[in-house]
Amino acid sequence: MNKPEVKKDKSMILQKEMIAKQFQDLATAKEKGKKIVYTFVPGNLSELIHAFDMIPVYPEINALQSGMRKKSGSFIKDAEKIGYSEDICTYVKCDIGMMLNGNIGPYGEKIPPPDLLLLSYTGCFTFMKWFENLERLYPGVPVVMIHTPYQEAGKITPEMVEYMVKQLRDDVIPAMEKVSGVKYNEDKLKQILSYARETQELIHQIFETPKNIPSPIDAYFAGVYYIGPINTGFRGTPEAVEYYKLLLEEINERIKLGLGPVTPEGEMSEEKFRLVVEGPPNWTSFREFWKLFYDMGAVIVASSYTKVGGLYDLGFRHNPEKPLESLAEYCMNCYTNFNLPQRIEILKKYITDFKADGFLIHSIKSCNSFSAGQLGMMRKIEHDLGIPVGFIESDLVDPRYFSYSNIKNRLESFFQMLSQRKMLVNQ
């Protein structure tokens, strides 16, 4: 077969450069006297970290990158050898395994040890346990934790915000001042937050574009690349604003030309199915997984996973006028911090607004936060909307849990069911 030449968009090149620079900064951080903060992606306090001129490192990004580079399998086994159960979250095991192997990151460079462990965990209890394990691995490194309350009643109350702001003011900021040697500067934070606000507006517009038919982007497989900068360290930087402006321009151009999404094998020719997907992707076989969809002409028009770093479509933006309050609200506004009834409503809205033909759950063995209760959510969505649903299972970074033929078999059946349904509707 003649492989069509895949042309790289400018935004893709720009993103590559940004990530390369990020790793370079990391590699030279110690010599430049910059402090390193280990923290997690969902509900991260990147703006605050930047306000103290420190550099964030996200263990789960290392884990997923290790997964994509086929390194996670052996890391996980190494962690299991020292007593970590086969049953537990594989991000944690991958991270611990990486540390056991000298903390060499996914790109082959040594990741500098932390100067501060900032435990801000949103929507996942295992993060806390992960951090307890990290603390023991880095004895003596200062630790600070901020507890994000769950939206158990389906809303964020002023008391919840107050609880978080107090933690920021009393615990987090003093710890950061101490480690960085920099005094908290609210004006600087406000400036960063205004950039963050801009990127949030832009990415919101980007994830609205799949409402077009055909959709100009894949909001899941390509979406995970799009959320990269905003979720990991670039939110609140002018570079990110630049990147998302460029990306949005490119996508708007595609809409004008009536083009479908770009896949690793070039442009998708025909949009046959529009799907909403719930759950993170698999990283160890990411390309094969994606291919199963675009080969069938399936486009993901909206996904919950791309909202783990914030649900901007529900209206949240950072507010430079209320810096700490808006940091708190941001933390509570990540997808897995919403309760199940809220998650159902969000997904139903996506299915309706983006005119999806089907709803698919990719359930992750590792991630109880996403997975526990998903089957009930699915039933409810199927019942309320009468939409065809599908259910497949694998894992984040444990290659042992990605069964290609199993997933292919289920997806084929799912797509055939969808096309039958379409045919009947058309008759």
Partner: protein
């Protein structure tokens, strides 16, 4: 029949009844009584008692509930307890229970609260997000509001708003309950054969389904009985069983550990009943504040509590020393992230302190005990042998 045997039998009939008949009978005696189901592990039952209610423990279906619907809700890689709970709920076992409180111990329990909300099970489903910040003015304030929220939900049902007196009274009763439990553990420290671990488990568990003063009487009787000799002091090793956390061990599994040659001198079974180490102030103008203060300052260690300033593995080793234990048996439910993530930390600390340990996973409906018995037997033998040599 021996009095203690009788007590245990009575308790068993109450403790393992998945229709919660005893509690429901209590409720039926008066119109304004309520039942609040609470999930593992800790919940300040005092506040429900003060509202003329009974907080009852929802501990899953163990191996006596056939699970069909639950498997429809949970994938194979999620622990067992939420499936039996859903099965119980959908089969109507919870009818008559007014509301449910889920403690923030893990993502599975958190999401289970959502499943309850989706199905409108009970009049309310509250996820009680315990603060992981232990400062009075930060985490304390937050927790107090959470507890007030629960009280409001109960008041909305029966119209009873607890006053300072009723709260203080409830605190007194539960303080007494805890002190009796600790006394039993202390007696068993000296004479573990007088009351076996599975018997004690049954007695404590029954306390989750009856008024606290009734349970206090039972405990008083138990203490009286175990002052006397009962059973033979055979040659067994002294162990602490730790890690069980939320999903209940099958009672036969506890028995198997004992049959394999162990005295269980401490454990974390039904830890919620012994959560507060010491007394909650019972004579203040701010009883809710006292409950919160005790939570922040006097909680026992557990996997669900962030422990940076007081590492749990150190506290476990202390406990082992205090109980003069020969070893630790780590047990953890399959697919339980919190419990399983603690195990390597605790094992490391045990190694450092030359405390022997063994570890196995189980689930609430585990049916085969032979491999576990063999493992524990070998563990116990190795301890005895090792002690003989040294």
């Amino acid at each position: 029949m021996e009095k203690l045997n009788q007590i245990i039998q009575t308790c068993a009939a109450i403790a393992y009844d998945i229709n919660y008949t005893y509690s429901k009978n209590w409720k039926s005696k008066s119109k304004d009584r309520v039942l609040v189901g609470h999930f593992p592990i800790y919940f300040p039952r005092e506040i429900v008692w003060a509202c003329n209610g009974l907080a009852i423990g929802i501990l899953g279906g163990n191996d006596y509930k056939e699970v069909v619907k639950g498997d429809a809700y949970y994938q194979s890689y999620i622990c067992h307890i939420p499936r039996s709970i859903i099965d119980l709920a959908l089969d109507g076992h919870f009818n008559g229970i007014d509301g449910f409180v889920f403690s923030s111990i893990c993502d599975v329990m958190r999401n289970l609260s959502g499943v309850f909300q989706i199905h409108n099970i009970g009049k309310f489903s509250k996820y009680l997000d315990y603060p992981q910040n232990f400062k009075k003015e930060i985490g304390g304030e937050f927790l107090k509001r959470e507890l007030e929220d629960i009280i409001q939900k109960i008041t909305a049902i029966n119209g009873i708003r607890p006053d300072i007196k009723s709260l203080n009274n409830a605190i007194k009763l539960y303080n007494y309950n805890r002190s009796l439990l600790f006394e039993i553990y202390d007696i068993r420290q000296k004479y573990p054969w007088r009351l076996e671990a599975h018997e004690l488990y049954t007695i404590i568990r029954a306390g989750l389904y009856m008024p606290v003063d009734e349970h206090n009487k039972i405990l008083e009787n138990v203490i009286e009985e175990i002052q006397k000799d009962r059973n033979q002091p055979v040659d067994k090793v002294r162990v602490i069983v730790w890690g069980a956390f939320c999903e209940q061990l099958p009672i036969n599994l506890i028995k198997s550990i004992e049959l394999a040659g162990c005295f269980v001198v401490d454990d974390d079974f039904l830890l919620g009943s012994r959560w507060i180490l010491g007394k909650i102030e019972d004579n203040t103008d701010d009883p809710l504040g006292a409950i919160v203060e005790a939570y922040l300052q006097k909680s026992i260690f557990s996997t669900s509590v962030y422990d940076v300033n007081n590492p749990k593995e150190k506290r476990l080793v202390e406990l082992a020393k205090k109980r003069n234990a020969d070893g630790v048996i780590f047990v953890a439910p399959s697919f339980c992230d919190p419990a399983l993530l603690d195990i390597p930390l605790c094992q490391k600390e045990c190694e450092k302190n030359n405390i022997r340990f063994v570890f196995f996973q189980y689930s609430e409906n585990t049916g085969q005990f032979k491999p576990i018995k063999e493992q524990i037997g070998a563990f116990a033998d190795s301890i005895k042998l090792w002690e003989g040599v040294s």
